[in-house]
């Protein structure tokens, strides 16, 4: 397979500071390659080098097996770029910016000596922007008056004017709000299907894990790791980004990446404060250092406690499920079989000829009671361990569960499961099942609803969205997730803990037209999450 772009041993130094050291990479058409790294790792510099604006000190770059000479103009090769901070022409309007350098007009051919087709470009701009899920009131608005998000959208729209061969995207989501981030990620998939090669760098490993085929990790300007996205996970990528050798120690940080960064920030602020103090008070120095050391130790200790807790909880949940499975099997294989044996015996007795009618009636009622008992026990087994989940997966298991639940609670359930769901790792399937179980139980207990809905959908190749909603009375305004455990609502605590262990997100909110929505987003369900 030939590579559309191949870089060999690229190095770049700013002054005496090496920003890129011997980086090699390649990408093929229809491939999405991600660059991960902390800010300052050299991602943007590398992107600028690959787009031809920045000239490296050393290294070679091939496009379609043709060697490129810096500085080159990517556009003429069919390379489009979306920058971290869009550089737009401030004095021009939206349309002119979208079509800058790609103006439509008559006669065709030369870019300069033609009369622009202003109306055609404005129409096309409106079309592209609506494709992006946004629309500006006026395609002739001057760009200087727009927000940074709108500018970034214009930069994205620019790429969509003419189908390129390759798109380089440098940390574009900084200026974008959540819905547009998702929109961009889904656009990347569309582009990939069109056979466009895409290079994307991001601070956010989740975005890279969601859309890329490969992830290259940069640290201090060097290429430290390369992962196939399907074979890796968030922990591994972040560990490579942060660059700690001892993976054991890092685990907690990885589970709470944000707080890790916050802690780092705090530590940096503290050390800055320390340097300021150092200049003033010589005697204070020792105290400060002790203080900072103490704080650092505390953070480390907290991290370790956090790991231990997480592991313990995961182990507990695993053991719980195991125990339930065992219990269910025992009830099913032992007690139910025994009861059926008893029932068989009763039937035999019933068949005797010289029995009094009173005894016969008694035996018949005994038989119905035994059958009822068996049914009840089967229900209990089903709740302990859904029988279909091991053989058929979470979809059919949810199907039969919601049917039973509906019958019991007399609340109809609309179940909507992604037809392409497939099988998932055991831990995830069980968690999904338990969350639905708990969610529907809450509906039955608290909501007074007349209808409920369960959706399980893949929103992106590596993200699952599970939502349980009803049309009941919702939650009160003073509801607070953080006080769940103290308020005694252990069902929701259980859900939030399960979600946290899967690295997902939980959202509980009132719907606008009444009712409650419980929504869970689970990342990368293709990957096996360790259960021990």
């Amino acid at each position: 397979m030939t590579h559309i772009l191949k870089a060999i041993n690229i190095s770049k130094t700013f002054g005496t500071l090496p920003v890129i050291q011997n980086v090699s990479m390649h990408i093929s058409s229809g491939e999405v390659v991600g660059f991960a790294g902390q800010s300052g790792a050299g991602k943007s510099a590398l992107m600028m080098l690959l787009t031809g604006f920045l000239v490296p000190d050393e290294g070679k770059l091939y496009f379609d097996d043709q060697i490129l000479r810096w500085p080159f103009n990517g556009r003429t090769l069919g390379i489009e770029v979306i920058h971290q901070h869009p550089d737009l022409a401030e004095d021009l309007d939206v349309t002119s910016n979208v079509f800058l350098g790609n103006e439509l007009g008559w006669p065709l051919g030369n870019i300069w000596f033609k009369f622009p087709n202003r109306r055609g470009m404005a129409k096309e701009t409106v079309r592209i922007l609506s494709q992006l899920g946004t629309n500006f009131d006026d395609p002739h608005e001057i760009v200087a008056n727009l927000s940074s998000e709108q500018r970034q959208l214009i930069a994205i729209a620019r790429v969509m004017v003419k189908p390129p061969r390759m798109i380089i995207i440098d940390n574009p989501t900084l200026a974008l709000s959540y819905p547009y981030q998702q929109k961009l990620l889904s656009l990347i998939q569309t582009w990939q299907q069109q056979g466009i090669a895409i290079l994307i760098s991001s601070d956010n490993p989740d975005h890279l894990l969601a859309v890329t085929d490969r992830i290259i990790v940069l640290r201090n300007g060097q290429c430290t790791n390369e992962f196939r996205t399907d074979d890796t996970n968030r922990e591994e990528v972040v560990a490579a980004m942060v660059g700690t050798i001892d993976h054991q120690q890092l685990t907690p940080i990885l589970w709470a990446l944000d707080s890790y960064y916050r802690a780092r920030e705090q530590a940096e602020k503290l050390s800055l404060g320390q340097t300021i103090l150092e200049k003033g008070i010589v005697t204070g120095e020792l105290l400060d250092r002790q203080f900072i050391n103490q704080l650092t130790n505390q953070i480390d200790a907290l991290d370790q406690v956090n790991t231990a807790l997480q592991n313990a909880q995961r182990r507990l949940l695993g053991e719980l499920e195991q125990e339930r499975k065992g219990l269910a099997r025992e009830i099913h294989d032992q007690i139910i079989q025994d009861l059926l044996g008893v029932n068989f015996r009763v039937e035999e007795i019933e068949a005797f000829e010289n029995l009094a009618p009173a005894v016969k009636n008694e035996l018949a009622s005994l038989q119905t009671r035994i059958r009822q008992l068996v049914d009840d026990l089967r229900d209990i087994c089903g709740n302990l361990r859904p029988p279909t989940i091991d053989s058929l997966g979470v979809g059919p298991a949810l199907g039969s569960f919601t049917r039973d639940w509906s019958k019991r609670s007399r609340i109809p359930v609309k179940l909507n499961i992604d037809p392409d769901l497939g099988r998932l790792p055991e831990a995830i399937e069980l968690s999904i099942f338990r969350i639905v179980q708990e969610g529907l139980n809450n509906v039955q207990k608290h909501s007074n609803a007349s209808l409920s809905k369960v959706d399980l959908l893949r929103t992106m190749p590596r993200t699952l969205m599970l939502s349980v909603s009803d049309n009941g009375r919702g939650i009160t305004d003073d509801f607070d997730m953080t006080t769940l455990s103290t308020s005694g609502n252990y069902g929701l605590v259980g859900i939030s803990e399960r979600v946290a262990l899967l690295g997902g997100r939980l959202k509980i909110q009132n719907l606008t037209d009444g009712g409650l929505l419980l929504q869970v987003e689970i990342p990368h369900p293709r990957l096996e999450i360790p259960t021990s």
Binding site: N73, A89, L92, E103, G105, I111, W112, F115
Partner: protein
């Protein structure tokens, strides 16, 4: 009755405000206004201003100033300045004149072409140094001004070239009869040039990019537009237009002198700036520059008619440039 009179009052207030906005925002309107005021003033104060002969002369004489101001304004729009236009005018005139001399005796068309090429070449060198080497345009063009003027002097040893052929002088001295109106040839040529350059600068994509260079160079670069090429093109066009203006001037005067067109760079800058070309770059139109050049020439004409001494003209031109720059500055604030 009150109900009807009130809206009319409001409408009046609104329209007055609106007119003021238009005047203060768009220099084009204020320039035209200025032109009308000066013309009216001169027609009232002097007997000679509104005569056909004077107006025809005025139109003829501002033609080459307008033509070099077109080039100058393009350069100013991309954020530069060209100090070498006056010297280029002189050199182009001299080269064409020398080529038509008895000794060399090239056909007029070839000589004109050589003169134009000279101007284009000077502009091209300017553009290369400014675009590729990123040197400040003021210094570069000041240097070329000196070099070009020096070449002009050394070409004829400082002597002017006289006895130009009739067919060459035609384009400077004659008039074309259009019905009852007789238009000077240079004025017509200037209008044609304005039309062509106006298409390039105000209508075509090239013009849009030229207007964007000063404040959006990075955006253009990222959009894959060859900004260096555009810059070189603008300076080359400026040199070419300067040469054309120089030829018209030479044809009009009938003599090509190495000292000709001294100080015209300032005149061209003044015409461009008065015509609405911002010295901060990014704005300006050919129509505006044309009117700007007309205003300046009318003023000069008026100063002569009113009997001011010649050195007063320079003071007036300089003062006008400063006034317009100050106006620009206040408007930006």
């Amino acid at each position: 009755m009150d109900g009807t009179s009130e809206p009319i009052m409001q409408f009046d207030m609104y329209s007055v405000k609106r007119i003021w906005e238009i005047i203060s925002k768009r220099q084009g309107f204020s320039v035209v206004l200025l032109f009308i005021i000066i013309s009216t003033f001169l027609s009232l104060m002097t007997d000679n201003f509104l005569t056909l002969g004077n107006l025809s002369n005025l139109a003829r004489n501002f033609s080459w100033i307008a033509i070099i101001a077109f080039g100058q304004s393009m350069v100013i729009i991309i954020g530069g300045i060209d100090m070498s236009v006056g010297a280029t005018m002189a050199l182009a005139g001299l080269i064409t004149a020398s080529c038509m001399d008895v000794e060399i005796n090239f056909p007029v068309m070839i000589a004109v072409l050589l003169g134009l090429l000279t101007g284009g070449f000077v502009g091209w060198i300017n553009g290369l140094m400014i675009a590729r080497a990123k040197l400040p345009s003021y210094i570069v063009t000041l240097g070329t001004m000196s070099v070009v003027r020096g070449i002009a002097f050394s070409l004829t040893g400082g002597w002017p070239v006289r006895d130009l052929p009739e067919s060459f002088r035609f384009m400077g001295q004659h008039e074309i009869q259009l019905g009852s109106l007789s238009l000077p040839v240079p004025f017509l040529l200037m209008l044609i040039t304005a039309f062509i350059v106006g298409l390039l600068l105000d209508q075509m994509v090239l013009g849009k990019h030229i207007h964007t260079i000063k404040h959006g160079e990075r955006a253009l670069l990222l959009a894959g537009v060859d900004v260096n090429k555009a810059t070189v093109l603008v300076y080359t066009l400026c040199g070419l237009l300067a040469a054309f203006g120089g030829l018209l001037m030479t044809a009009r005067v009938g003599v090509a002198a190495p000292t000709a067109a001294t100080g015209y760079e300032l005149d061209s800058i003044a015409a461009a700036v008065v015509g609405g070309t911002s010295l901060y770059g990014g704005t300006g139109s050919i129509m505006g520059v044309l009117v700007g050049a007309a205003v300046l020439q009318t003023l000069r004409n008026g100063l002569v008619l009113l009997g001011f001494p010649a050195y007063g003209h320079t003071v007036a031109i300089g003062a006008i440039i400063l006034a317009v720059i100050l106006l620009n500055y206040w408007r930006r604030k």
